[in-house]
Every structure is written in C-alpha cells, then in structure tokens.
Symmetry: C2
Subunit: 271 residues, 2 copies
C-alpha cells in the first residue's frame, strides 16, 4: 500500500505506464542492449524489453536459422540487471494476428546501404516496429546507433505515426573496440581479432579522409585494400550524412558506414 | 521483472491503471468502507482509497468540526486489509486549486430528502466528486447504498461526464443491524441501542406499508410515533422510487428513507 500525500505523488504513482520505455530486441542480450535498458530506466518510469526474432526481416533463410537464440540465458541477464520491469515474449501470432500483408515500402532514396544488399529487410523491420509500437504503446523506444540506418528509418516511420519518441543510444564496443552484436556469438577468436583490426583500419581511414569531392573514389580504394588485406567480402564502405544518409563530401555531420562478412556472418559498423 | 508470454498477459500487466477502482471516503474507515474496497479489489486491477474531509459539503460548521478524524488508525486498517494499492490524502489545495466557484446546482426535483434539510450539501459532494474523478481518473467508483441519495446523484452526475462507472454496494450493518457510518463513533451505547430499535421499527413499518395512495399519511403517523417513542427529531420518513427518488405509492422498486438525530448526530438509513 502506497500513501500519496499530494497530487504530485498521485500523478507519479498512478501514471507509470504513460511513461513506458521500450527496448525491442531479437534476444542474444549483450551489453549494448543493457546500455539501452539503463537509459530507459533513467528516462522512463517503467521499462519493457521484447525478445522476438522476427522472421519477416530476414532476407536470408540461413541467417534466420543460425540467429543466436538462448531465451533462458537472456532472461537471466535481464533479471540480474534489476532494471527491467517487463519482458515481452510474443508468439508469432501475437504479432502477425491479422494476416493483412504489410504495406511498408521504402522510398527510392532510402534503398541504400543495407537496404540495397538485404532486400525486404527494412520493410520487415518497419512492419514489426509498427506492430510492436501499436501493442506496447511506449512513450520512448531505445535503439542503438550500431544499426544506424535502422534507427534512422524507424525514427522517421514511428515518430510521424505515433506519440512515441525513438531515442538513439551510443554503440557499445568490447575492449578491442568491436561493436557488440548478437551475431558476434557466431564468430571465432580469429574472426574477432580480424574485426578489431578492421575497426582500427576504419579509424585510420576516417582520419585520412579529406574534405574533397573524390571521397567516394578514395573510399573505393580503401575498400579494395581492406578486401585484400583481410580476405573479406565487403557490401559497402561509404561516408554518409547522418541527417539524410546521402553520400557525403565532407566529414562534418557524417559517418563512415561499413558492412562486411566474417565467417559468413554479416557485420555492420559505423563511426 | 515480470515475464509476459503472450499479448493477453502483456495487456493485463501494462494496463492496470486503465482499470483503477476508486473508493472515496472522508476517513473513519469502517467495515462499510472495507466492503467497498473488497468489491473494488475483485472488479478492478488496482484500488485507490481517498481520505478527504471535504469542508464544502458540510452545511453545519459544528458537524464539520466534530467529524471523526483519525488518519493513523485509518491507514492501519487499510494496510491490514491488504486490498488497497494506493491511499490518496489530498491537501485542500490539491482539490481546490482553481478558485473558480463550483457551478453545481441541483435540479428542483432533486431538492428532496437530505437535499431539503442540508442546504448546499450535495452541491459540495458533486463538486468534490467531479474534482476527484478528474484527478484520479478511475474506471469504477464504489459507493455505499446507505447514502442512497448521494449514490443516485453522483452516478447521474459522473456517468454522463466521464468514462467512469459508479458501482452501488450494499449497506453494511453491525450485529444489531445499525447501518455502519463514521458518525457512529460519535454515539454512546444508549444511542446505539436506540438506533437498533429504530431499525427494527423501520422493518415493521415497511412490512405494514400497504400499496395504496395513503402511504404518505400512514408514514406521517408512524413518524410521529417514532418521535414520541424515542424522543428523537426526524427530518423525513418517506417511501421513494429507487430509480427516480419520486414519492412512491407502491412498495415495488421502492425504499423507505429516514433521517433522524441521536445525541445531536444526524443519521440516515434506507431499506
């Protein structure tokens, strides 16, 4: 029984769910997720985490099949954090109850970076994020900057439709500066060492990128070097404006985006 | 941390405050209040009890001054019930923040029973109930049938204005059938014995009331008998329809209403 001595304490106590922070995940909970949860816990009255491996955002069946799943371990980590009020584990039916086909289509200008290489991926992400937002009705949604394009598209999609705000959170890295990702569980030690070296190279590349019109050709050269040095497949290595994701000819308000494969695992990063 | 395995459990867990039961009181918590709390606890996800002695509903300054107040004891009883989630103890300012004068006026047809004898009383009740409802935003409000006219007027007032539902609850009586009231604390043993006898007489009167047009004159006679036998002042003794509170000429859908004084304490009952 809570005693409310005035209206301020009444409003605070009675409206916690008007102030719900939401951290949508596909499981494989790591410190990146925990930093989102921490932020939600600081900014919101209650925090809900969802774990739902959304089949509709996988353009590759093998990727879906191998995606790390360990719900018991995830729950243990979340519980230990003491910062999660609710964990939402929807069934497929809970989300895709109405069999209506999603009407999400990307604009042509957004069919870049991962959208170009993973056909249908972001359509699936935006569809599930619409559905989750309608169900959970959060005040704020917390998403990591590692998936910068996802954050950019989800923010654009949800904030025009709902009262929810999408809050970007810094990428969390391991001690070798590899960006945390559930997919890292699929990498071996050698892969992780390579990933750390690639990160260092990216920092160098960014440092040596000069503000001039030939940035794309400079990056193209660097991409070839990366490919040869580390024997990796690279989807893209591009400098883009953070506000509209257009190809950038200046370092100001820009990020260097990369997607590459290690051990057949597709990894992304940006800095 | 609560684990939600499907949407049903999500909706149940996330929306408790869309399902808030409210028991407004002026303190002096007794088993009547506890029965309201029990009902709220059964029908609603969360229960809030307010304790606020509303000065604006007292037409008599002495009555306001002598009204029983023991907040510590009240809180102890409420806590012990284990059925109250929140106790709201507003300050005068919390309720009467805006100094706008209340615009509540009773319709002429409602100026009957207690409204006739306690000028301004129900205007004060309806005003505070409007304010409390706006603040607390309950789904259901629980009120006892002992204050039948109050229940009738509040239901009419609130249900047309808000999404809240006013739920009538049976009058709770002590083992001698005296209707429980905070004001009973102001009675001595002799008064309580008299109150029990008056209740018995009322049962008799109701039994002997025949369906005919001279019910009012029959009740007038009985009122005089009560006055003489118990040396009490009686404000009214009337049979009225439960749906519109009009004077009734049939026992069907009717209640016998009484207001009388014992030890200068005004008591009401109906059956």
């Amino acid at each position: 029984m809570k005693i409310l001595l005035n209206n301020t304490s009444l409003f605070e106590s009675l409206r916690p769910f008007n102030d719900l922070g939401f951290v949508p995940t596909m499981g494989g909970i790591h410190k990146g997720h925990l930093s989102l949860i921490n932020k939600s816990n600081k900014l919101c009255k209650k925090t809900i985490v969802s774990i739902f491996v959304n089949p509709k955002q996988f353009n590759n069946k093998k990727d879906l099949k191998s995606y790390p799943r360990n719900i018991k371990k995830d729950l243990k980590i979340l519980k230990k954090s003491k910062k999660v009020d609710f964990v939402y584990l929807p069934t497929f039916k809970d989300i895709y109850k109405d069999k209506k086909k999603s009407k999400i289509t990307l604009q042509k200008k957004d069919k870049i970076l991962c959208a170009k290489f993973r056909k249908g991926h972001f359509e699936g992400v935006l569809d599930v994020m619409n559905k989750l937002t309608k169900i959970v009705k959060p005040k704020k949604i917390f998403m990591g900057e590692k998936d910068f394009q996802q954050l950019y598209l989800v923010k654009k999609e949800l904030e025009k439709k709902y009262k929810t705000k999408v809050i970007p959170c810094k990428t969390i890295r391991d001690r070798d500066n590899v960006a945390l990702s559930s997919r890292n569980l699929l990498l071996n030690k050698t892969n992780l060492i390579t990933a750390a070296k690639i990160y260092e190279t990216l920092v160098d590349i960014k440092k040596n990128t000069k503000n001039k019109k030939n940035i794309p050709s400079f990056l193209n050269l660097k991409k070839k070097e990366l490919k040869n040095n580390y024997k990796i497949k690279i989807d893209y290595l591009e400098l883009r404006n953070i506000n509209n994701l257009k190809i950038s000819s200046t370092k100001k308000n820009s990020r260097l985006f990369i997607a590459y494969y290690l051990n057949n695992v597709r990894l992304i990063d940006n800095l």
